[in-house]
Amino acid sequence: MWEYTEKVMDHFRNPRNVGVIEDADGVGEVGSMACGDALTLYIKVDPEGRIKDAKFQTFGCASAIASSSALTELIIGKTVDEALKITNQDIADYLGGLPEQKMHCSVMGREALLAAIANYKGQSRESLASPLVCECFGVTEDEIERAVRENRLTTREQVTHYTKAGGGCGSCHERIEAILAKLRREVDVAIAAPTKKLTNLQKMRLVEETIERQIRPELQKDGGDIQLVDLEGNRVMVSLRGVCKGCPSAGITIKGIEQRLKDMVSQDLVVEEVAS
């Protein structure tokens, strides 16, 4: 059984913005029924270049439906240029995370968005064409490179989890390895950057900053709050407030906070909930 977050299950059970926009300004279609998931995204853009409305239709598993629903919520109200900056990780984060084997669902959302915007801008599919790497799932070189860069992927298994490429007959494994080798330095630098040895003071500042800028706004959106109580070595002590306090999913929330801090500050951090 997959461990889906409550937010994934909510967007799966009650998907937002399902449907078709008949007079859409941009339509993006990705995936196919043979691949096991497919998404059609419709966007309506106002004269100022702002996405006024978005609707989707999805064939796929719970995380595919939830990722599509989250995507529409993320892009409505944003300008096209702002929307272009949304990464698959943003979609996954919006849902409180996805199992790694399901990250390709968030990538599918991102690809549909790019396709819809390209369609809106009048770019033809051909002008975007990039060589096909995985024939089983129709994944191009560009799509794989984008996923590798944005998610700092280092192994072929990860590429399959994120893009599906290489998950079928396996004949493209060498080409995927070649792409990984080509981007290896770039990814290594990106991975090394936030994990370089921090002084205690730097660590403290970075933890504080991550909580203030990233974690607190998300909790507040759900009516909760967080306070940093203390930092001892790698033990980050926080107290949860508002509806987060005593919430049965507080344990999940703490895990999510810990993962975020690990990603942003140091893999060694452990988060504990304490009374304030």
């Binding site: 059970r13 064939f59 598993c61």
Partner: protein, 389 residues
């Protein structure tokens, strides 16, 4: 939540009578069957009685029953034990639709230099017996063919298969994990040499299995240690679980004349009801002999995991051969081997009934399933354009 458990091919509820039988062997009669005292004798007697009950279910001799940890262990032990006993023979025959316990051994064996023939099945899941006949050679060490398929319930004609294989004097193994307790198996009449079964598919707990080894079969030991199980599988016997399996075998045998009929009626009602209420459904293996409890069907234009999770919201437990439920990206190898189109294979659902299912539960599924399928089809980009919605 009230559960409607229709996933009995995955595992079954431990029968309360089985549980009751097991309990004393944890805290009262907890001796080691090898010990020379009364406590040891009690355990030894219990293991012997359980062995007799399992033998009776299969119509075999008690000394042909070897207790193992699970069905997968039995399959591994059978295949590797035979190959090791016949080191000069380098060819194995099996099918494209085996359970992973056998199927995933194929790449491993090929790597070791074995030649492996995977027999074809047709659109209904029927085995190509001509392919079997033509694949056998003097180099064939073993034929391993499942009794009944875990996903579709399709039953292979083991009697015909045995005639073909035994005419060439080749050892024959069958993974009967899904068949035992659901259909009659008479090993006095059916000349297979090795048969795997599992406790938790017949209302015993998980963690106990059996490998039947016909008298006179040459096989290497598969767990080297003490003298237990005649030296074939060393290690102290799992007495409470063996006792549980014995009781489960006794209950299965008692029910074997009527229960399959009852399950068949329920399954047919479920199948008919689905076909009447929901358009664009394919039943896998419909045209051939199937286990009476199993219904595998594909709902076109929807994806299996989504269906399972919405069913689960109502307490209905089933399973799927879709890619998304397994963590792989390809749908079930069984459905692909049958040539089920990918577009349908992703929407496959398996309902497998068992001892505790009732007609009311079948009605409950029939009331709720059409709405769930409709809901998912409504958000699918393919339904309006290609379906008849």
């Amino acid at each position: 939540m009230k559960f409607v458990y229709m996933d009995n091919n995955a595992t079954t509820r431990v029968d309360p009578l089985v549980m009751e039988e097991m309990l004393p062997f944890f805290t009262e009669a907890y001796g080691n069957p090898s010990s020379m005292h009364l406590m040891g004798a009690m355990a030894q007697k219990a293991v012997s009685e359980a062995r007799e009950k399992v033998a009776e279910l299969l119509n075999a001799h008690p000394d042909e029953i070897v207790f193992t940890g699970c069905g997968t262990e039995s399959d591994n032990a059978a295949i590797r034990g035979i190959l090791e006993a016949w080191p000069e023979k380098r060819h194995l025959v099996t099918t494209r639709v085996e359970h992973p316990a056998v199927w995933n051994q194929i790449p491993y064996l090929r790597q070791k230099g074995y030649q492996v023939t995977e027999l074809r099945v047709d659109r209904e899941g029927r085995l190509d017996l001509e392919h079997l006949r033509s694949s056998l050679s003097d180099d064939t060490a073993l034929v391993s063919i499942m009794f009944a398929n875990n996903e579709t319930g399709v039953v292979f004609p083991l009697d015909e298969i045995a005639q073909i294989v035994k005419a060439r004097g080749i050892p024959l193994h069958t993974d009967a994990v899904q068949a035992v307790g659901k259909i009659q198996i008479d090993l006095a009449k059916l000349p297979v040499d090795l048969l795997s079964m599992s406790g938790h598919k017949i209302h015993a707990p998980k963690g106990i299995g059996v490998l039947y080894i016909r008298r006179g079969t040459r096989i290497a030991p598969f767990m080297i240690g003490g003298h237990q199980e005649k030296g074939r599988r060393g290690g102290t016997e799992n007495v409470p679980y063996i006792v549980g399996l014995g009781k489960a075998a006794e209950l299965s045998l008692k029910e074997l004349t009527r229960e399959p009929l009852r399950l068949g009626v329920l399954r047919d009602k479920l199948e008919q009801g689905i076909l009447e209420r929901i358009p664009r459904v394919l039943v896998n293996g419909k045209g051939t002999r199937r286990l009476p409890n199993t219904l595998s069907c594909c709902f076109e234009y929807v994806e299996g995991e989504s269906l399972l999770l919405l069913l689960s919201d109502l307490g209905i437990c089933a399973s799927s051969g879709s890619a998304c439920t397994s963590g792989s990206l390809e749908p079930s190898h069984v459905l692909r081997a049958m040539g089920v189109p990918y577009t349908a294979a992703h929407g496959s659902i398996r309902f497998s009934l068992g001892r505790f299912n009732t007609e009311e539960e079948v009605d409950f599924v029939l009331e709720n399933l059409p709405g769930i399928v409709e809901r998912l089809r409504a958000i699918s980009p393919f339904w309006k354009s290609r379906g008849e919605g």
